[in-house]
């Protein structure tokens, strides 16, 4: 029997597949399609210190094999999330990861601290890489010094394992990864979206109200694979891989590149059952390529 289990800091996962932050809300909508207990974990939509209303619409655009989004971290705020969303998800037999965002180090700390008070969240994903907000987010994600600092402070502020979500919009992803590892990150989550834009010809202006948005979907998969492959050789903390995954073969490609587990984002919009379908198909794909377990495949694509 193929063993899908993965054991990561704070996350004893029955399988390595989880919906990516922002593409699954807080699970309610997709719980109408299937039992969320099938999932290895759920990563919630980003939480900030207080309620955020996000960017103006349009917030999404379609691109070749991908999409742009500029939601702008709309969320009801960490306390409301703990009150109304976490208990709903906690009823399912799955692990829960909270995506932590903010404009200042203090806000990140506050959000992390607040999640620490509930015992229903198993890990934090520190979102220092959202390209769609004016403050915070991406400046933390492109400067290794700032990234290390916010990681350190969030680690101090809470007891949960922290997976730092890296931005791909950098010249040197290895330096970023090493900086947050040194600052105490328990794991990495990569990649967030690539900053992109679409211009709407009839109106002769950027289609998204925010002008730029984050590119996701199959279009970015080669970039994600390259970054994970490079980072894996320089860090020893585990990696949750994502970026364009849409089937079980893609999952194996991420595992071979060095991911320990994976998240699926954009593909949920095309197929609401994508996560359980991938989980069902994964044993067959692992076997086909000669692996007896998920663990066996991790990093096996790295040569020399």
């Amino acid at each position: 029997m193929t063993n899908l289990a993965v054991n990561l800091p704070g996350l004893q996962l029955k399988n390595p597949v989880m919906p990516a932050s922002g593409c699954f809300g807080f699970g309610r909508e997709y719980s109408e399609f299937y039992d969320l207990g099938k999932l290895g974990a759920v990563i919630m939509k980003a939480a900030t210190g207080s309620e955020r209303f996000g960017n103006h619409v349009p917030r999404v655009a379609e691109t070749s094999s991908g999409m742009l989004n500029a939601i702008g971290l709309q969320n009801p705020g960490v306390e409301k999330i703990i009150e109304t969303e976490v208990p709903f998800l906690a009823d399912y037999d799955t692990k829960l990861i909270a995506n932590v965002a903010g404009s200042t180090i203090e806000e990140y700390e506050l959000v992390a601290k607040t999640f620490n008070q509930t015992n229903q969240v198993h890990a934090l994903e520190l979102n220092i890489s959202c390209p769609n907000v004016k403050e915070g987010g991406s400046q933390f994600g492109t400067d290794p010094f700032m990234a290390a600092k916010v990681t350190e402070r969030v680690k101090q502020a809470n007891n949960l394992p922290v997976y730092v979500k890296l931005s791909p919009n950098v010249s040197d992803i290895i330096t970023m990864a090493k900086a947050v590892e040194a600052a105490g990150a328990d794991g990495l989550s990569m990649i967030n979206t690539l900053a992109g834009m679409q211009i709407h010809l009839p109106s002769k202006r950027p289609l998204l109200a925010n002008k730029t948005g984050g590119l996701s979907g199959p279009a970015v998969k080669p970039i994600a694979i390259r970054m994970i492959y490079e980072v894996k050789q320089h860090v020893s903390i585990p990696i949750i891989g994502m970026g364009g995954i849409s089937n079980a073969e893609d999952v194996l490609e991420f595992l071979l590149a060095g991911a320990n587990a994976v998240a699926v984002g954009t593909a949920n919009f095309q197929n609401p059952f994508i996560c359980p379908e991938i989980i069902d198909e994964l044993p067959g794909v692992l076997n086909k390529y000669g692996f007896g377990s998920v663990q066996d495949a991790v990093g096996k694509g790295i040569v020399e």
């Binding site: 593409c23 809300g25 379609e62 939601i71 095309q270 197929n271």
Partner: protein
């Protein structure tokens, strides 16, 4: 709402760049209410396309949609042929609130007309008197005129005057003041003009926005409900809102 396969029964061009498709599906035909939409998968496209349900035939277990060829998704969809299978999420959204009024006014603009047909048919069956004002760009774009006439008094308006009245739907609003409620769907400028002109009336409008998930999970399709940052999701809380509920 479920993820369903729908077999295409027929594909017809009913006006300029406007396609009518009849789709077979038991679950959606039995459960859909007027104003709901289908989130339609199109091969080779990352995002699904939201298209309103224009008609339902419960006996034949069929659902009719009408769409205009706008960009690459609808263009590709228009090349699908009878017998092929569409992958659809549906029925999505809330739908129009139904009530036994004496008379209702339906105001549709362009490709906002389709959901009003399903609504009008449903209300007419319940004994409500239907008055329709349908606006199109030009004579070539007019569709479903006879179907609406079968439901009741119908005014056709074209922007260029090539058919029916010339101008905008608001230009003929004065011809009909005798109704209890109005329902409208169409481009935002039209909805703004209508909600302003009919402030004193109870009305419901159906909105469009670019969507990601189509089910309420991604926060792509929000509409403000006030100036304090309140918002609703068009795909889940809508697409139908009371005219006073949202800020256009």
């Amino acid at each position: 709402m479920k993820n369903e396969k729908m077999q295409i029964m027929s594909v017809n061009s009913v006006a300029l760049d406007t396609i009518e498709m009849v789709l077979k599906n038991s679950y959606i035909s039995q459960t859909a209410v007027p104003g709901q939409f289908l989130h339609v998968g199109v091969d080779g496209h990352t995002l699904r396309r939201p298209i309103s349900i224009a008609d339902v035939n419960k006996q034949e277990e069929s659902v009719t949609i009408l769409f205009k060829i706008i960009g690459s998704g609808t263009r590709h969809l228009s090349s699908y042929q009878a017998g092929m299978i569409l992958n659809v999420l549906g029925p999505n959204g809330n739908g129009f609130p139904i009530q036994d009024d004496a008379t209702v006014l339906l105001i549709g603009g362009g490709i906002g007309v389709p959901p009003l047909y399903n609504l009008g048919k449903t209300l007419a069956e319940r004994g409500t008197k239907i008055i329709s004002i349908l606006g199109f760009q030009t004579a070539d774009s007019v569709f479903y005129e006879q179907k609406f006439r079968n439901l009741g008094e119908t005014y056709i308006v074209t922007n260029d005057g090539t058919y029916g009245y010339e101008g905008y739907v608001t230009d003929v609003l004065e011809l009909t003041d005798d109704f209890d409620r109005y329902y409208s769907c169409g481009p935002v400028p039209m909805l703004e003009a209508i909600t302003a002109a009919l402030k004193h009336k109870q009305g419901f409008i159906s909105l469009e926005e670019r969507m990601g998930c189509g089910v309420g999970a991604c926060f792509a399709c929000v509409i403000p409900t006030d100036t304090q940052g309140g918002y609703k999701k068009i795909c889940k809380d809508g697409p139908v809102f009371s005219a006073q509920e949202v800020m256009l």
